[in-house]
């Protein structure tokens, strides 16, 4: 039935699979980060340079900020690199992280169809724009996935526009529970408004009729931070390699590298590790 050759092949294959990547793991760390840093191509640009310098391979698992922090909480990542300061501070308060370092910022943009059914194009006031979307019941796509962008969106509705979105949302407000790219695809397919980080928007390839409707409001600021997962709580965390990665990101060299990343001549992220309040 199972002849000897089959068993040999199985054993060889099993051995190959279960031993091969162990060596590769020796000098590597797992970073749980956000879809924006991956989809914008930033990591594809940064990580080879970091590896060249230190020999450390960085494996990025791209998730929403909430999920990325949970990955850290379970001890499945060595470093978290996310963008929701309030959630990051909670992570630190729980003792899950060692220290938060601000790294860089960009901003959110409100994307909408060129036809602009809510009539908000050109306004710089994000709170006013959201009020008009609600008044006109214009279609709006929400990430709905506890990502940094989703957290920022909720704060803009609830705090800045003074709208209790959980209570006041109607069929015009669709929460899709997916990543930034999926939200932009949905908005593109249904001519809806959507909040996006600028990096993902610039690199997004299926824009269709979508354009930037609102930008430049300082409430659209989007700060990224990096945290080493607490080795005291999760002994498997690779403290030295993880800290080396963090130190490089906030070093003058890492900061310059971040500033140099561009798509079509447009800078996607602005380093600000030296700003203690960021």
């Amino acid at each position: 039935m199972m002849n000897r050759r089959t068993v040999m092949v199985a054993a060889t294959l099993a051995a190959a699979i279960f031993t091969a990547p162990v060596h590769a793991q020796d000098k590597s760390i797992v970073v749980s980060s956000t879809t924006s840093t991956q989809d914008s191509g930033l990591f594809g640009y940064l990580l080879p340079l970091f590896k060249q310098k230190t020999g450390i391979e960085v494996k990025v698992v791209a998730q929403g900020t909430g999920q990325a922090l949970d990955t850290g909480r379970r001890g499945d990542a060595d470093v978290v690199f996310v963008h929701a300061k309030s959630a990051e501070e909670k992570f630190l308060a729980e003792g899950e992280g060692v220290k938060r370092y601000p790294v860089m910022y960009n901003d959110f943009v409100l994307i909408g169809p060129n036809s602009d059914p809510a009539g908000i194009k050109g306004t710089k006031d994000i709170a006013r724009a959201l009020q008009m979307i609600k008044d006109k019941q214009a279609p709006f796509i929400s990430r709905g996935d506890r990502s940094g962008t989703h957290i920022a969106e909720l704060a803009l509705w609830n705090k800045d526009a003074g709208i209790d979105i959980e209570k006041d949302k109607g069929s015009w407000y669709k929460s899709i529970g997916q990543g930034m790219g999926a939200a932009l695809n949905t908005a593109s397919a249904s001519n809806a408004y959507v909040l996006s980080d600028r990096g993902t928007w610039i690199s997004f390839k299926n824009k269709g009729d979508l354009v930037i409707a609102v930008e430049g409001d300082k409430r659209l600021f989007n700060q990224y931070g990096v945290i080493l997962v607490n080795p005291a709580k999760h002994p498997n965390v690779k403290r030295d390699f993880g800290q080396q990665f963090i130190d490089w990101l906030v070093s003058p060299e890492g900061q310059k590298t971040i500033a140099n990343y561009m798509i079509n001549g447009e800078q996607l992220f602005y380093p600000n590790a030296s700003d203690p309040g960021a």
């Binding site: 199985a10 990547p21 793991q25 379970r74 498997n236």
Partner: protein, 230 residues
Amino acid sequence: MSGELSALDLLLSADPTLIAIVRLSLLISLSAVLFAALVGVPLGACLALTHFPGREVLIVILNALMGLPPVVVGLAVFLLLSRSGPLGSWGLLFTPQAMVIAQTVLVAPIIAALTRQTIEDLWVEYRDELAAMNVGPARRVATLVWDARFSLVTALLAGFGRAAAEVGAIIIVGGNIDGFTRTMTTAIALETSKGDLPLAIGLGMILILIVIIINALAWGMRHVAERYAG
């Protein structure tokens, strides 16, 4: 069109990233089919030839498990392998090994259920002969599996099809890490989310092409082998 061409260009120019992704996809899915067959074929054959109380219930459950949702299997394996889970000390989460484990769980019921049906049908034909020869149960299982080997290839291919096509399980336990756990299906999911729909479609067509080639190879090997087996 241009996207499909660009994906085809990647393939024709033997783009190293694409080759690595294809290689990993095949390695993971074929390994999963192999491990699932080592468990599923004997299990299905034994179930076909034995009688015990609750056997029908077990068969219904096994058949139902063919429809296991990949995302649920992915989540279960994830919780097992997470550092906070019972097998966390193995350090397998976000590795290709974890992906093989998840796909093995998905594929094993398919192979077991189809093997059970195949062997049971064959058993009807062979019953009198084997009974007359008075062979023990182990020999019976071995004889029937051997004689059904060409039909069982279809069960393995069904399992491979499932493994090669799914994304829900491996994206959860593998993490879709660039150059490490990125496969055809997770790459397609990623390109879709980046809005590069033409590239995603192109990759999808390459994946379908690979599955067709695997099936054609299996078909050809079966016919050659059948001829030699007389």
